[in-house]
Structures are given as structure tokens and as C-alpha cells.
């Protein structure tokens, strides 16, 4: 188990370093000058040059790369070129929205999908199963942003229960903040729940065919107990894997939902930073996302290894 952990951590470090290289190279290659973006179409060349010097962009790229990576090793992500604020603070502000949003969506989607999937597996081929399958198909087919707009039209425009987006800030109170996150979380959770429900159903059906389940049924255990004690834990392995993958999707894929609900999360920060050519922010956010995805996947692997010992031996 220890060797497995060390291997995973090494992979994590290597991936993170590769991510910094790729991100830096791509941003160097894209045409665009942050100073020019800042000062616009009337700017005089000497003002642009003065701003470039102020931003440190007049230094050669190896110096900038080394400074950036060196800073990150000390926990310094640099200062945003446009916002003139430390990137770490900017990202922390945005994570305070994106993480609770993704977490809420994850809980919602698991909370909806796992019971629905088990329910469908328990009555395969019957009306209930068909209904769940139809829900799954619909959830996958309906684009998230469209569903988000429907939610706004219903709950904000018609009923007036929620604001049509925006975020009051956590300092306005946890209740108000959570209220602002609820509709976006539902919009984010539904497509994920649809996929997860189908996977839970399939996994549960596979497990139902196992001999130990037949044995349990033959022992005369009630179906409810068989499902909960024997089917659920074993069906959870593929479900946990997908859930882990989904978390990455939820964090990165929140961009669209954040835009529709105008939530100032990490996705919108990235979107704005790319528009402003704020390289320091883009680099910081992309590396953070890459490390998060790799770390979550590593955690999922470790969790699966804990549930099921086989992967530990086979790499």
C-alpha cells in the first residue's frame, strides 16, 4: 500500500510540473499583450512599454518561468496583471464559491442518483425502471445551460423565490449565500445525476447476477436487505470512480452554469482572465485545476484500492 501511495504522489508531482510547462508554453505562443489589452486602442507606445516594465513582462521568458514556478513552490502565485491583487487571494475568493457549488451539486447528484439507480435495478424491465431510464436519458440529453435558464424562468422570473443569479458574498450571511448557490447546484447536478443513475443501475444489475447474491436470496433474506447489504457496497466501486471523475467535471465544468447564473466562481475568473490576457491568473488557475483533477483521481484510486485490494498489485 505504501509503494502504491508513493507512486501516486510521484505521478501527481510530475503531472503538476508538466502542467506548468504546457500552460506557460501555450500562453507564450498565443498572440496578445496584456499591457495593450489594459490600455486599449488609444494607448501611446511609450505608455504600453512603461506598463510592460511595471508588469515585469520585459524580462526574458526563462526568467519569468523560473520566477513563477519558484514562487509557487513557496506558495506565491504572483500578482494578477489586471486586478493588481495576489492570485492566491483571487483564487481563494472564487474557490469559496466554486467548491461549495461543486460539493453541493455532488451531494445532490449522488443523493438523487444512487437511490434511483438501485430502485431501477430492483425492478428491472418494469414501469419504475423505465421511468428512471427515461429520466436518465432526458438528463443526459438536455444541455445544462438550457436547464439552468428554465430554472431561472420558473423560480426567479415567474415565482420570484430566488434571484436570477448573482452572489451576495459569504459576508452577507451563509443562508443568503447558500440560497444563491441552490439553483445553480441543481442545474449542475441534474445531468451528472442522470449519468450516475444509469451507472448505479448497471453496476447493481451486474452485482445482482453474482453468486453470493443468489446465495443471500436463497438464504431467505428480504430483497431490501440483499440490496443494501450485498449489492450496494459492491456496486459502489464503479460509482465512486465515476463520482471522482465527476467532481473534476463539476469544478471545471461549472463555467457554463456560473456564466448563466453570473456566479463569480473560478470558471468565470478563468474566462475573464483569458479575455484580459492576464497570464499570471490563467497560469495559476489552470495549474490549480490540473493538480486538483490529478489529486482527486489519485484519491479515487486510493479509495478504490481500500475497498478492493486487486488494483494495488496490478500497478
Amino acid at each position: 500500500m505504501l509503494a502504491f501511495l508513493v507512486r501516486r504522489l510521484l505521478t501527481l508531482a510530475l503531472t503538476a510540473w508538466l502542467a506548468t510547462l504546457v500552460v506557460f508554453a501555450v500562453l507564450e505562443a498565443i498572440p496578445g499583450d496584456p499591457a495593450l489589452v489594459m490600455l486599449g486602442t488609444s494607448a501611446q507606445p511609450e505608455a504600453v512599454a512603461a506598463l510592460r516594465a511595471q508588469m515585469g513582462l520585459d524580462r526574458p521568458w526563462p526568467v519569468r518561468y523560473a520566477g513563477w514556478v519558484g514562487g509557487m513552490l513557496h506558495g506565491e502565485f504572483g500578482t494578477s496583471l489586471t486586478y493588481a491583487r495576489p492570485v492566491a487571494g483571487l483564487v481563494a475568493d472564487r474557490l469559496a464559491i466554486t467548491l461549495p457549488l461543486a460539493g453541493l451539486a455532488l451531494v445532490l447528484s449522488a443523493g438523487i442518483a444512487i437511490p434511483l439507480g438501485l430502485f431501477a435495478a430492483g425492478r428491472q424491465g418494469r414501469a419504475g425502471d423505465w421511468a428512471v431510464m427515461a429520466f436518465g436519458q432526458m438528463g443526459i440529453a438536455v444541455p445544462g445551460f438550457w436547464f439552468a435558464i428554465l430554472l431561472i424562468l420558473l423560480f426567479s422570473v415567474r415565482l420570484g423565490w430566488f434571484s436570477a443569479g448573482g452572489f451576495p458574498g459569504w459576508e452577507a450571511g451563509a443562508g443568503l449565500a447558500l440560497k444563491a448557490l441552490l439553483l445553480p447546484a441543481v442545474a449542475l447536478a441534474l445531468p451528472e445525476a442522470a449519468i450516475l443513475a444509469r451507472i448505479t443501475r448497471t453496476a447493481a444489475l451486474d452485482t445482482l447476477r453474482e453468486e453470493y447474491v443468489r446465495t443471500a436470496v436463497a438464504k431467505g433474506l428480504p430483497r431490501r436487505v440483499v440490496l443494501r447489504r450485498h449489492v450496494l457496497p459492491n456496486a459502489l466501486i464503479p460509482v465512486a470512480t465515476i463520482l471522482g471523475l465527476q467532481f473534476s467535471f463539476l469544478v471545471a465544468g461549472a463555467v457554463v452554469v456560473e456564466n448563466v447564473f453570473t456566479l463569480p466562481g473560478l470558471g468565470r475568473l478563468l474566462h475573464q482572465a483569458i479575455g484580459q490576457h492576464d497570464l499570471i491568473v490563467v497560469q495559476g488557475v489552470v495549474v490549480l485545476l490540473a493538480v486538483t483533477v490529478v489529486a482527486v483521481n489519485a484519491l479515487v484510486d486510493i479509495a478504490c484500492a481500500a475497498i478492493d485490494p486487486r488494483p494495488r498489485v496490478t500497478v
Binding site: G40, S42, A43, A164, G169, T262, L263
Partner: protein, 503 residues
């Protein structure tokens, strides 16, 4: 029990779907607005920071101009130069010395006096070697700034500048204090009737009334600027009552539904945004006047305005807004005439037309106009490849690098016809005739004479068909009917809310 719970979960899911459909069919719910002293203003883009002296983003001025910061002079709702931090001023007969008298009792939001030393600091900072002012050119004519006493500032120019008072009224010329200027990007300190309260990054900036303001106090106590970039989300936020007023509303296709809704008022006014088909005059075949004129004849401005702005916008025939004194109507110079266009192309030795590329920046008006113009040019044999670009590459390649055939952009700075006289500008246009008139404009203070000179410049540009002159961007505002005093027109890019009140 678990079985029942599962059934309940399913029922809730199905119920929500049915409820959604049902409620969408139901009638609208109106919110009754009581007289209020707060205002929520919608904006499409968030400012990158809040220092107008260090950035070109219009969103900076749209939050801060006249509300938070004051320049020496100001532009009012009609576009006239009116007193700002300076209550009056004199100009010497030779146009080289400007003496400004500052308001007594003017204070910065941190409590310090706003005096002539602050003005001297602000102007010297904007024109100095380290300046990162986006409009450094506005200060180029200044030879020296003196502060003979705390309330008086004397600015001497090295050459007459007919637009000096106009330029000193821009947000780029905001008066800031040496103690606070460095931190203005995040915690702005100005002299205006509103002061900064907080900024929820990505979502809103909140200003509150400045109780110590020495001038007339605004009716509003609190103004919140909320940033909503998605068009559908803008409409929803207005309909849900989250936004009280949305100026510069560019989802033009949504205007009719707000016009039909008694709870809202729609105002359509003017901006200073001349929208042009930017043409690289140095590149073949655009270096041939006949080709540029052929393109002018091939473009149907009426269809363009209907298609892009849903009818809300005025056609232009040169680089000048129709609402300004000095405007000359040149829209009939090249009437829409595809046959004439083909004839001109044949005359230029291109009977089969040619292939070219149109590089488009991100704004929606540019993308939509680009598609329509590509189709119009195709009618006369010009095969256009449309290439959408993001802002940063557009600025780098098209604007700075002049690496383009055609582009499409609105030039939003007021009275910016002088860009055609700039050496090395991205149109690659040179005209001694035009520059001679420009030099005379700089020497002329008399309004009537200036307007005649502007007319002459417009004619030269239209005759040379430098760019495709298309339309003026409109300024549409959608707001709750009880909001009064928002600007109808945008003589500069600003949301001056100092005169806004609720009915």
C-alpha cells in the same frame, strides 16, 4: 419505508418537471416598487480594476466616472463640458494658458483636502515618463502645471489644443491624491458624491453616498453595479426585478419584449461609437480607391442596421456622429448598388472579384455585422473568409501589427476623427489634405469655424472611402419605469447616477 422514500423521490422529480412546464405557461408576477433610495445598475462587463487613470476598459468609467472620481471639467448628459472639480476657468487669448479655480471645500473620501497640489500631481503623473495612462496623448500638449495657491491651477500648453477642456473632462484625467493613487485599483479614493463601499469580485461593486460631499447631494444613498455578461441572464435578471436599470443594453432582440411590458421603460439614444469596416489601405487590392468605393456600393446599411441592431441605429457616411454639431450627411455618396460595385471592380482590373479575410473582434455587433457584410460582398464577387478573434490577439495582430485585410470595430472615443491623421495607425491611411485641415483645427477655438473644418475632414474621408462607414452604435437602456434621470445618450462611456431618483 425505503421503498416509499424511493417512490417519493421519483414523484418529486416528475412533479418538478410537470410543475416547470405548468408555471411557464402561467401569467407573469409583477413586483410593486416602493420609492427607494438605492439603485441596482446592470453592466455587461466587470471592470478589471477601479483606476480610470491606468486603464482603457470602458467598464472602469462606467462605475466610477462622475460618481466616484471627478476630473477638472466634466461631460454632462448632453455632451457639453461643465464644471467638475474646477468650478470655473479662464483661457488666455492665444489658447496657451488655462487657469482653473477649484471648488472650495472639495475633499477626498479619506478626508484630506482636494487642492491644487493634487491636481498638479494628477496631471504630471498622467503625462510623466512612468505614465501608464491609456490616453496619455490627451496630456501631450501640456508644457507645465503650476499651483500658485491652494485653489488655483495654471496649465500652460506648448501648442493650442482645441479639445483640451473636453479631454480634461475624461475619466483618464480624474483628479487623484498622491497618498491614495497607488491603491486606487482596489480601494478607489476620489472627490465625487459617492464613495466606494465594497467589491464582490466577479459580481458587484457597491458605492454609497458621500456625506461630506461639498456639492449638491445625490438622491440615491446606495448604488450597486452588477456584472452580467450572458444575454439570457441579463434578460432574466431584469425580468426577475434584480436589476433596476441596464444601460448599454446590447441584446437588441430583447428590446420589444421590454417595450411591451408596462413595468419597464426602454430608451434608445446615441453613443460616440462609429462602427466601421476597417480596411488596410496599404494592402492590395485595397490600395486602389476604386476597390474601396466598390465595397462601399456593395454594402446595404439599412439591412445591416435591421439585422444587427434590430433597427436601432443611425447610418453614417463618414467618421462622425449625426447628433454632433458639425456633422455632414454623406450617406448618399455611395448608395447601395451592386451593379455599380461590380463595374468599379472590373474597372480596377478585378472583373471576377477577389478573395480576402475579415478579422472580427468579440463584440456581438462585430460578429453579426461581419457575417452580413461577408454575404453582401459575396454578391459582387468578393469572397470573404470570416475569422473571429479574441480581444488580445485582435489588438496584437490587427490593431498593433496591422496584419489584416478587413476588420470591423466601433470607435467609441468621442470626437476621434483625428485618428485618420495619426502616422502608423492601423488603417495605413495617409492624406496631406486631411492633415492640413487637422492642423488648422488645433489652431481654431471658434466653434462655427471648427465645425466647418470637421465637415471638411468628413468629406475627405468619405471621398477616399478610407473604411466602410456603417452605423452608429445605439445606447439602449432598459429600466424599471419608476427610475428617472439615467442618461439617454452616451456622450462618453459613463453611468453618471448623480442625478438619478425614484418616482
Amino acid at each position: 419505508m425505503p421503498n416509499r422514500q424511493r417512490r417519493t423521490a421519483l414523484a418529486i422529480t416528475m412533479g418538478a418537471v410537470l410543475g416547470l412546464a405548468g408555471a411557464l405557461a402561467a401569467g407573469p408576477v409583477f413586483a410593486q416598487a416602493a420609492p427607494r433610495t438605492d439603485l441596482v445598475v446592470g453592466m455587461r462587463l466587470e471592470p478589471p480594476h477601479l483606476d480610470p487613470t491606468a486603464g482603457a476598459a470602458a467598464a472602469i468609467d462606467e462605475v466610477t466616472y462622475a460618481n466616484l472620481y471627478e476630473p477638472l471639467t466634466r461631460i454632462d448628459a448632453e455632451g457639453k463640458v461643465v464644471p467638475g472639480l474646477a468650478e470655473k476657468w479662464q483661457v488666455s487669448a492665444d489658447g496657451l494658458t488655462y487657469t482653473f479655480h477649484l471648488r472650495k471645500g472639495a475633499k477626498f473620501h479619506d478626508g484630506s483636502d482636494a487642492d491644487s497640489a493634487d491636481v498638479k500631481f494628477s496631471l504630471d503623473r498622467a503625462r510623466g515618463a512612468e505614465s501608464v495612462n491609456a490616453q496619455k496623448g490627451y496630456f501631450a500638449a501640456i508644457a507645465g502645471v503650476e499651483a500658485p495657491d491652494a485653489r488655483t491651477v495654471v496649465v500652460t500648453l506648448s501648442r493650442p489644443d482645441g479639445l483640451f477642456l473636453f479631454h480634461m473632462a475624461s475619466g483618464d484625467a480624474a483628479i487623484v491624491a498622491p497618498e491614495s493613487a497607488g491603491a486606487n485599483k482596489q480601494t478607489p479614493v476620489g472627490t465625487g458624491p459617492f464613495k466606494f463601499e465594497r467589491w464582490v469580485a466577479g459580481d458587484r461593486v457597491v458605492l454609497v453616498r458621500n456625506p461630506d460631499y461639498d456639492g449638491p447631494k445625490p438622491a440615491l444613498e446606495r448604488v450597486t453595479f452588477r456584472f452580467i455578461s450572458d444575454p439570457a441572464a441579463q434578460v432574466a435578471a431584469l425580468k426577475a426585478g434584480d436589476i433596476d436599470s441596464f444601460p448599454q443594453f446590447d441584446t437588441y432582440e430583447a428590446l420589444p419584449q421590454f417595450r411591451d411590458d408596462g413595468a419597464f421603460t426602454v430608451m434608445v439614444g446615441t453613443t460616440e461609437g462609429e462602427t466601421i469596416l476597417g480596411t488596410n489601405n496599404a494592402r492590395k487590392p485595397f490600395d486602389d480607391l476604386r476597390v474601396r468605393r466598390a465595397m462601399a456600393h456593395a454594402i446595404d446599411r439599412k439591412t445591416l442596421i435591421d439585422g444587427v441592431l434590430f433597427g436601432n441605429g443611425a447610418a453614417i457616411g463618414s467618421h462622425f456622429p449625426p447628433h454632433r454639431a458639425g456633422y455632414v450627411d454623406l450617406t448618399a455618396l455611395y448608395p447601395y448598388d451592386p451593379d455599380k460595385a461590380k463595374a468599379l471592380l472590373a474597372e480596377a482590373g478585378l472583373p471576377d472579384g477577389f478573395a480576402t479575410t475579415l478579422r472580427l473582434p468579440p463584440p456581438i455587433y462585430a460578429r453579426r455585422s461581419g457575417e452580413l457584410i461577408a454575404a453582401m460582398l459575396a454578391e459582387v464577387g468578393i469572397r470573404v473568409t470570416v475569422e473571429p478573434m479574441e480581444w488580445a490577439p485582435w489588438l496584437e495582430k490587427v490593431f498593433k501589427g496591422k496584419d489584416y485585410d478587413l476588420t470591423l470595430i466601433a470607435h467609441t472615443e468621442p470626437l476621434d476623427i483625428d485618428i485618420y491623421g495619426r502616422p502608423d495607425y492601423y488603417f495605413n491611411y495617409q492624406s496631406e489634405r486631411f492633415n492640413a485641415v487637422g492642423a488648422e483645427l488645433d489652431r481654431t477655438q471658434d466653434t462655427a469655424k471648427r465645425n466647418a473644418l470637421y465637415g471638411e475632414q468628413q468629406r475627405i474621408l468619405a471621398e477616399d472611402a478610407v473604411n466602410g462607414f456603417l452605423f452608429m452604435l445605439p445606447s439602449a437602456t432598459v429600466q424599471k419605469s419608476a427610475v428617472q434621470g439615467m442618461w439617454v445618450n452616451r456622450p462618453i462611456q459613463a453611468n453618471d447616477v448623480t442625478g438619478v431618483r425614484w418616482k
